[in-house]
């Protein structure tokens, strides 16, 4: 049987070529993702190991809970006097006091280095004199900082900002911006910088002033004298320290923490890419199904012959599945190799984008090989299952007869199966969207996939009337149009399956468009309703992020006579009711002037440092009233109890919990404002107000001044950016769908050789014949696009409904965009029909009409 399968594939290599290409593309995406993330995590594993090679123990503040991956310290600083205590412990060879904080370099072009939004962090730290304990390695020509205005910067930032040794550069910290002289440029281990983060190293004294607190350090790195074991060292240091809230851990443990943080950060990245790889393979499975259905139909006689000479049904099924297996394995192996190349290219691209990855070879794990081969082959064989079973039903006598192509399943069976599958898919999807179940993403993804299969089963029912309607204008007084319409109608199952492949890819685009448009509408709505401030000064960062503005900026703005109210907004992550939650903090004295958050109880303006304001939603969820106690666990300072002093409704603006700036300052490690809201004083013109504010923020190159309209546009732009990312990731799935259309048409052209030859013989020109095939492609893709508009819009609506609690309250359906998507799908469809159309036009008339 294997022999027959192999010959079957080789004998039909042109027909199977595009199928294999679809599998190959999907698998290569998968393999590139796995190889890239493996490579990145392997190289960082190595990097962390080498950096902490000489660090035998670390003394640092204990955490109330682990807030997860973070590049900035989420710990309470410890007393600097401990450095001397640790140094005195027998067996300690060297110690280094580590101080970390926010420091952002300004490049020679006057722009801050590093974007705050989703960009790599901007870190400041104390220069460590003990070479073995310092991850930074000075490049030749540089020296360590020795004066209070000297710094060392990482090589990546130096390259990006065109900074050189001897330059005086502006550095943004939690204090007012100040100038420093670069005395050296350093690498971070063998990398230019960790994942593209920027690092500014100050003298320990300066670091304590501009990054930390006087008399405090963030951690103490300890190196043991030769011969003293790590665990012994940890025990001895532990014994010497009596301060509560201080822990001693081994260097290995910290290495693992660092590696875990990278793995966790990559894990998200990985998941997103794998989801899109799976979408691509899912789209590909429609194509595979279609190809096998058509090829089996075309080879009815050949299969009947196999049956006639004594092959059992099982053997016929096995031979077709064997072909699928061969294609799957060959294409997956190809995909694996292409993916390896792709990963290399992506690595170079990331490096070009400033996310530097240490130079190591690509990592091809055994797991990658197994996953890619199993997935590619599995998808191919699974998609070929139904066609293979259909092949087995061929009666041996068919070898003597003309048999009809594609015995379509019973109408009733189709309706039943299709609606049943759709219902199951919708139910699973609904559960994932609306119920609180673990692994919601799996529910949503799996449900959507099942729903698509169900809709594809129902497709042929709609395909007939829909193609007739779509084709009608094409058919008007045009022979190619008429023929194309008839052809699309001839086999609704095939037309529909082809259109479905396109539907899956484009439906996600449509869905994302609905979600994006609704998000933007909600943002506009909230800003219009809740924002009384005239201006927002934004750092582009987020609450609790590693960058933002020194509180100094808000204070400077508040001193302006042209300004009546100012508050900086800061925040961070803390644990409430068992889950990590973002808490915002603002100056209560001015909130009422700057926002209308819809206070329903209490008084926001008079909130105290012991008070907390909660949203109506949070109040309902946790049965909170004025004066209720709220336990908040901060990673650094542990459990604190606050009392509800105000309840508000505008959670889209303010989140669920708001503290005072004073409370935030005590409990969050970094107190940077990520936004500052400004209201111009009465009687001052907007222009005057704006220029006054601009004058102050000129010292902060990371600040952007926006009025309400600009703020809305800026928020929308961020949504669009996400949307573009999704488009990019979906491009592959769409490409595969288009290959599917091209493949189906090519197979149809092959199947209709006689018919096309006849048309040419009776006087159809090459041009007309090509137009016929392209018109059929247009009908198919418009059918797919039509299905998309319906399915994508409905799914988008469901998604928006599910996200209601996350602050997307307005449903907005972007009709023009959706129509544009449909039009583009149509154009792409015509393009997909170009090659088969050309092939049909080139057909040799004589060979086409002569009987086989």
């Amino acid at each position: 049987m294997w022999r027959i399968s192999w010959k079957g594939v080789v004998g039909h290599k042109v027909r199977y070529g595009l199928t294999a290409l679809a599998v190959l593309l999907g698998v290569s995406f998968m393999s590139a993702t796995l190889v890239l993330t493996d490579t990145i995590s392997r190289s960082f594993d190595g990097l962390y190991s080498s950096i902490y090679q000489s660090t035998d123990a670390i003394v640092r503040g204990a955490q109330a809970y682990d807030p997860g991956a973070s590049f900035t310290s989420q710990r309470e600083p410890i007393d600097a006097s401990l450095v001397r205590t640790v140094k005195a412990v027998p067996g300690v060879d060297a110690v280094a006091a580590g101080i970390e904080g926010y420091a952002q370099l300004v490049g020679s072009d006057g722009k801050a280095i590093g974007t705050a939004t989703n960009g790599p962090p901007t870190l400041g730290e104390a220069w460590i004199d003990v070479r073995a304990l310092n991850p930074l390695e000075l490049l030749p020509g540089g020296r360590a900082p020795s004066a209070s205005d000297e710094i060392v910067v990482d090589k990546h930032s130096a390259d990006v900002g065109h900074l050189h040794v001897g330059d005086r550069v502006l550095v943004l910290t939690k204090l007012a911006p100040a100038r420093f002289t670069i005395t050296g440029i350093a690498t971070w281990g063998s990398a230019d910088s960790p994942l593209g983060a920027s690092i500014t190293a100050f003298t320990p004294a300066t670091a304590a002033r501009v990054l930390g607190q006087p008399g405090k350090v963030d951690q103490i790195d300890v190196q043991a004298t030769p011969g003293v074991g790590r665990s012994t060292l940890v025990q001895r240091v532990q014994a010497a320290i009596h301060t509560p809230g201080v822990e001693v851990v081994s260097g290995q443990a910290v290495t693992r923490e660092g590696q875990d943080a990278v793995h966790q950060a990559l894990g998200f990245f990985n998941t997103v890419l794998i989801v899109f790889a799976l979408i691509a393979l899912f789209v590909g499975s429609f194509l595979i199904f279609n190809t096998f259905t058509i090829v089996v139909a075309q080879r009815m006689r050949e299969l009947a012959l196999l049956r006639a000479v004594g092959a059992s049904r099982a053997q016929v099924t096995a031979s077709v599945l064997g072909e699928a297996c061969v294609i799957g394995i060959v294409a997956s192996a190809g995909g694996l190799v292409v993916g390896l190349g792709l990963a290399g290219a992506l690595k170079a691209l990331l490096a070009a984008l400033g996310i530097a990855i240490p130079a190591t070879g690509l990592v091809l794990a055994a797991r990658t090989v197994v996953v890619c081969l199993a997935l590619g082959t599995g998808v191919t064989v699974l998609s070929a299952l139904l066609p293979a079973r259909r092949a087995a039903r061929v009666a041996p006598v068919a070898v003597l007869q003309e048999v009809g192509i594609d015995a379509a399943p019973h109408l009733a069976a189709r309706v039943l199966g299709g609606s049943g599958t759709s219902a199951i898919g919708a139910a699973v999807l609904g559960t994932g969207l609306f119920a609180s179940v673990p692994a919601r993403v799996a529910f949503v993804g799996g449900g959507a996939a099942v729903l698509f299969v169900g809709l594809a089963l129902l497709g042929p029912l709609v395909a007939r009337p829909a193609s007739a309607a779509i084709g009608a204008p094409l058919a008007w007084r045009s022979v190619p149009g008429t023929l194309a319409r008839h052809n699309a109608l001839r086999n609704p199952a095939r037309t529909s399956a082809t259109a479905s492949a396109l539907m899956v890819g484009v439906a996600v685009v449509a869905l994302m468009n609905v979600v994006a448009a609704s998000t933007k509408a909600s943002i506009n709505d909230v800003v219009n309703r809740a924002m009384r401030a005239d201006y927002v000064v934004s750092s582009g960062g987020v609450a609790g992020g590693s960058s933002g503005f020194s509180p100094d900026l808000a204070r400077s703005l508040a001193r302006l006579p042209q300004v009546s109210a100012v508050t900086g907004v800061s925040g961070g992550m803390a644990r409430l009711y068992g889950s990590p939650t973002t808490i915002l903090a603002a100056d209560p004295r001015h909130v009422d002037d700057l926002f209308d958050v819809g206070v329903t109880a209490g008084n926001l303006g008079r909130m105290t440092a012991q008070g907390i304001a909660v949203s109506t939603q949070a109040a309902a969820d946790h049965h909170l009233r004025l004066d209720s106690a709220v336990r908040v666990t901060f990673p650094t300072t542990g459990v604190r109890v606050f009392h509800v002093e105000a309840i508000y409704s505008a959670r889209q603006m303010a989140g669920d919990y708001v503290l005072t700036v004073a409370a935030a300052r005590q409990n969050f490690p970094l107190n940077l404002d990520f936004q500052i809201y400004v209201k111009v004083a009465p009687g001052v013109t907007t222009a005057a107000g704006r220029s006054a504010v601009e004058g102050v923020i000129a010292h902060y190159p990371n600040a952007t001044l926006m009025d309400q309209a600009q703020f809305k546009a800026n928020q929308s732009a961020q949504v669009d950016q996400m949307l573009n990312l999704v488009y990019g990731l979906l491009a592959l799935a769409l490409l595969i769908a288009l290959i599917g259309i091209a493949n189906t048409l090519a197979l149809s052209v092959y199947e209709r050789t006689h018919e096309l030859g006849l048309l040419r013989a009776v006087g159809m020109t090459r041009r007309q014949l090509g137009a016929t095939v392209r018109a059929e492609s247009l009908v198919i893709s418009l059918l797919g696009a039509l299905e998309v508009l319906v399915v994508g819009t409905v799914l988008g609506w469901a998604m928006v409904a599910a996200l209601r609690s996350s602050g997307i309250t307005s449903l907005s359906i972007p009709f023009t965009r959706l129509v544009a998507v449909a039009v583009l799908a149509g154009i792409a469809g015509v393009a997909a029909g170009a090659a088969p159309g050309r092939r049909a036009a080139r057909l040799d008339v004589l060979r086409a009409i002569s009987t086989e």
């Binding site: 022979v479 008839h486 048309l759 006087g763 020109t765 004589l846 009987t851």
Partner: protein, 256 residues
């Protein structure tokens, strides 16, 4: 009298020329050792209003001759002249349009587009050219072929004989200079075959249609005015006003 005929010929120059002729036609398939001379110097004329049959054993070149005459294939050497047009001078587009406007075809099978109705199939060459069918002509043609009541049907709903008559109607709808038929009765039972041949004969007698038909059936050939016998790519014999018996005798004579 002579001047009158001359006058007529000047006004309608096509009338004087034969419907089609092939001069020293050679067709070679393949190259070098594998080359096959399917036509080996064929010269023949087909008069206007004549029903000619081409016969010969398999491999004698009869289908090749038909394909070259009909502009479906090109000669390696020699010329094919249809009316006044030398087919050798035409490009693909001109050749396609010539087939569409001046030639009609009936094949053994695969004559109809399955997705189009009988009527749509018949007018296909006209619609391809962007023209409309003359209603009277279409009515006359379909009723004389006995398919006037089947026009709304798809090919799959017609019998084999009806399909071939629809194909004949399609071939004649453009009033072509020449109708080419390649084994048109090959897939039909004897009754349907006789019916089809009678209708083709009728077209020759009633409209002065010129017809060239390839067949291996002596009975089919007996409907023609003249039979050309081919062997090894050459015309080896001609039979005027054939009967089934005379055709069979000629075949027997050629085989010995």
């Amino acid at each position: 009298m002579i001047s009158a005929r001359h006058q007529l010929a000047l006004e309608r120059p096509g009338l004087a020329a034969p419907a089609a002729r092939i001069v020293a036609g050679v067709k070679v398939y393949g190259k070098n050792e594998t080359a096959v001379r399917a036509l080996d110097g064929v010269t023949a004329e087909f008069a206007r209003g004549e029903f000619a049959a081409i016969m010969g054993p398999s491999g004698s070149g009869k289908s090749t001759l038909l394909h070259c005459l009909a502009g479906l294939d090109r000669l390696t050497e020699g010329r094919v002249i249809l009316g006044e047009t030398d087919l050798g001078t035409l490009g693909d587009k001109a050749m396609t349009e010539l087939r569409r406007d001046r030639i009609g075809f009936v094949f053994q099978a695969f004559n109809l587009v399955p997705t189009l109705s009988a009527r749509e199939n018949i007018v296909l060459p006209l619609t391809l050219a962007g023209r409309r069918a003359e209603r009277d002509w279409l009515e006359e043609l379909t009723s004389s072929l006995g398919i006037a009541d089947r026009l709304a049907h798809r090919p799959a709903e017609l019998s084999g004989g009806q399909q071939q008559r629809v194909a004949t109607a399609r071939a004649l709808v453009t009033r072509p200079d020449l109708l080419f038929a390649d084994e048109p009765t090959g897939n039909l039972d004897s009754h349907a075959a006789r019916e089809l041949l009678r209708r083709i004969r009728g077209a020759v007698d009633d409209y002065g249609q010129s017809v060239v038909m390839v067949t291996h059936d002596a009975h089919a050939a007996s409907f023609s005015d003249r039979v050309l016998f081919l062997a090894d790519g050459r015309v080896v014999r001609e039979l005027v006003r054939p009967t089934t018996d005379s055709v069979l005798d000629a075949i027997r004579a050629l085989e010995t």
